[in-house]
């Protein structure tokens, strides 16, 4: 039954994807258009140029590398903090888990400007200003509350029978965590990682306030260099955006493959 409609579904899928990606196409379009024509509204780059790419390539590649390191470190930090705590909140019945859930919701609503101001003060004292680790820490604050909440919610659906069986076999909490809970949470771990990566990737506020003078700057700061007080250079900016989405897209598509069906079901059969 699945196969009968496969071709049709693929066609539909391509259609949906095309609609979703139209603004992306527009960005690519502008990145190949010469400055004089970017506001002409042509659907294909009539005034074709590669200048934009030539201009940004050298300048932006180091920034791109910085962003990737930054985002990956942020993913790891987020998981290291969120995984054990989500386990405790969902499966170990830790006391005060409701309070923590509440705090997590509040944490996500604290205005970014207040957080940045606070961070600047602390970073200035401990010497973390203009450093990558400082920025990793700051960026992780966007993802950690989210990661804990999402992972908790997913871990709650892990069959309790599995854990009880392991407990009877003498597995400790740590062992149950590493050999049952983590493997079974694969889908949600990938999902959380994706978000952590993307938020760190797209952050501008923290980067601008906490790493403005750093020798290594993320790509978002590089992008904003094209928006001056009186001139905005959309061509180079769009070219930078296209360049920066290539490595990230590869990572995304790759990571998405790891979201797989039947993780739980398969484990039960083992």
């Amino acid at each position: 039954m699945m196969h009968r409609h496969s071709g049709l579904k693929t066609a539909l899928g391509i259609f949906f994807t095309a609609i979703m990606l139209f603004p992306v196409y527009w960005m690519v379009n502008i990145s190949f258009t010469a400055k004089g024509s970017i506001r002409s509204g042509d659907v294909i780059p009539m005034d074709f140029t590669l200048d934009n790419y030539a201009r940004v390539l050298d300048i932006q590649l180091p920034n791109l590398a910085t962003s990737i390191v930054l985002a990956l470190c942020c993913v790891i930090l987020t998981l290291v903090i969120a995984l054990p705590s989500a386990y405790a909140l969902s499966l170990l019945r830790v006391r005060g888990s409701r309070v923590i859930s509440f705090l997590l919701i509040v944490a996500q609503m604290i205005p970014a400007v207040v957080i940045t101001l606070g961070f600047y003060e602390i970073y200035n004292k401990v010497g973390l200003l203009d450093t990558i680790p400082g920025l990793v820490l700051a960026d992780s604050t966007i993802a950690v509350p989210f990661a804990v909440m999402l992972l908790t919610s997913f871990m709650e659906s892990i069959p309790k029978s599995l854990l009880e069986a392991a407990e009877v076999d003498g597995a400790t909490r740590l062992r149950r965590f590493t050999s049952i809970v983590i493997p079974l949470s694969r889908n949600s771990i990938v999902t959380v990682s994706l978000f952590a990566f993307l938020w760190a990737w797209s952050d501008f506020l923290f980067a601008s306030t906490l790493d403005g003078g750093g020798s290594r700057r993320p790509i978002t700061l590089g992008l904003y260099a094209y928006i001056g007080a009186q001139t905005q250079e959309w061509g180079p900016m769009m070219a930078t955006a296209v360049l920066s989405s290539i490595p990230a897209t590869i990572l995304l598509v790759f990571a998405q493959r790891y979201v797989a069906a039947g993780v739980t079901a398969g484990a039960v059969k083992d």
Binding site: G36, R39, T178, P183, G228
Partner: protein
């Protein structure tokens, strides 16, 4: 399962590496911190277009006093003052801060920058009207290092010619309207301008407001209504794009470059591109004839406030600013930013070499500072002008 376990191990290993990297670079940076004060001069400006290693960047760095290096940081205009606020609060500000002129009263009020009475900064040789924004209560806080710019009407001679319009006939608002109407009637588009929310839109609005004899001290006036009606009339008649309500000046310029607009209200800084597009400039007409007063634009080099080792910081800053103010350097700085110099002697040389810039000389010499009359109150006035302008432009 095993595959996942190895993945776990890898993740752990990677996180250790990361943690180490975090530790190492944290140490590295704190040791840098110690040496930062001694031999480095921090220079903040909002010329983000001029990246590290650009000609302008080298120019700034060439002004480091013997034994010092200049670390330049370019920050978007809208963020610079906020970053400066945060930094000065923690006594971690730069030495030199280059600030856009409408923000100066605010910077002075919050004591983010130190006055010449403390730092020894002097403003010499600059035109009185152009240096005015940098002088607050008779104390020199900054000098118009970046040069000055102002607004004019740039037109596309080909389109205007096709419409049979002679630009020399544009003397007042009526004749301007007739010219735009003729351009539209000939199948082209009329005029692009920026009516965006905030200071940028107000900057573009002021020539019309002042041209109708408006006064910033009494904005609730017929002049404001007249100027608003002029601009919103253009949109309603389809002469100006509806997107003017969200277009920045740069966007208005891009629309003009796309080729079909007869006119655009834009500033000196686009002159180089205008030359490339063979476009010409006329001054903005006043309502009842004559040339409308235009606002000065441009950044001022200022000395940021310090608590610890203030004297040392101020000396460094003043040395750099003085070096950049020397005629030879100033000429290069102003040319790099494609602004007209705020010093007459330097400007004369620019004008001789560059016919495009020469068109702006008369306007610049008569231009008015936005904050000269109102000081800190300008922020509020500008906000209320912006509010009312937006309401007018959004009329359908």
């Amino acid at each position: 399962m095993r595959r996942i376990k190895t993945a776990m191990v890898k993740t752990m290993a990677l996180s250790c590496v990361c943690a180490m990297a975090v530790g190492v670079s944290a140490c590295g940076s704190s040791s840098q911190e110690a040496s930062k004060d001694d031999k480095t001069i921090q220079f903040w400006d909002d010329w983000t277009r001029h990246t590290n290693g650009s000609e302008f960047d080298k120019l700034v760095k060439s002004c480091a006093p013997e034994g010092y290096t200049i670390k330049r940081q370019a920050i978007a205009t809208s963020d610079l003052l906020n970053n400066l606020t945060t930094a000065v609060k923690e006594d971690n500000g730069p030495d030199v801060a280059v600030i856009d002129n409408p923000m100066i009263p605010s910077a002075v009020d919050a004591a983010l920058v130190a006055g010449g009475d403390e730092t020894g900064l002097k403003s010499t040789g600059y035109d009185t009207n152009l240096e005015a924004p940098g002088i607050v209560n008779k104390v020199t806080y900054g000098v118009p290092l970046g040069g000055s710019n102002t607004l004019g009407l740039i037109y596309n001679p080909k389109i205007v010619g096709e419409a049979g319009v002679d630009v020399s006939s544009i003397k007042d608002w009526d004749s301007l309207n007739k010219a735009i109407e003729a351009v539209v009637a000939s199948g082209h588009k009329g005029i692009a301008f920026s009516g965006i929310s905030g200071e940028e839109g107000v900057f573009q609005f002021l020539p019309w407001f002042w041209g109708a004899k408006g006064n910033l001290k009494h904005t609730d006036s017929q002049a404001r209504t007249d100027a608003e009606n002029l601009l919103s009339g253009w949109i309603q008649k389809g002469w100006a794009p509806k997107s003017a309500t969200t277009d920045t000046q740069s966007a208005a310029w891009d629309l003009f470059l796309a080729g079909d607009y007869g006119f655009v209200e834009i500033g000196t800084w686009m002159q180089a591109e205008a030359d490339k597009a063979n476009a010409k400039m006329i001054p903005i007409p006043a309502k009842d004839g004559g040339v409308a007063p235009v606002p000065t634009g441009g950044e001022f080099a200022m000395v940021a406030t310090h608590k610890k080792n203030a004297k040392e910081h101020y000396d460094k800053a003043v040395k750099v600013i003085s070096c950049l103010s020397q005629p030879e350097k100033l000429l290069k700085v102003n040319n790099a930013l494609s602004n007209l110099s705020a010093k007459k002697s330097v400007r004369d040389r620019q004008v001789k070499e560059n016919a495009g810039l020469a068109q702006w000389e008369a306007s610049i010499e008569k231009a008015q500072g936005r904050t000269s009359d109102l000081g800190l109150k300008y922020e509020e006035t500008s906000a209320s002008l912006s509010e009312s302008l937006l309401a007018a432009l959004n009329k359908q």
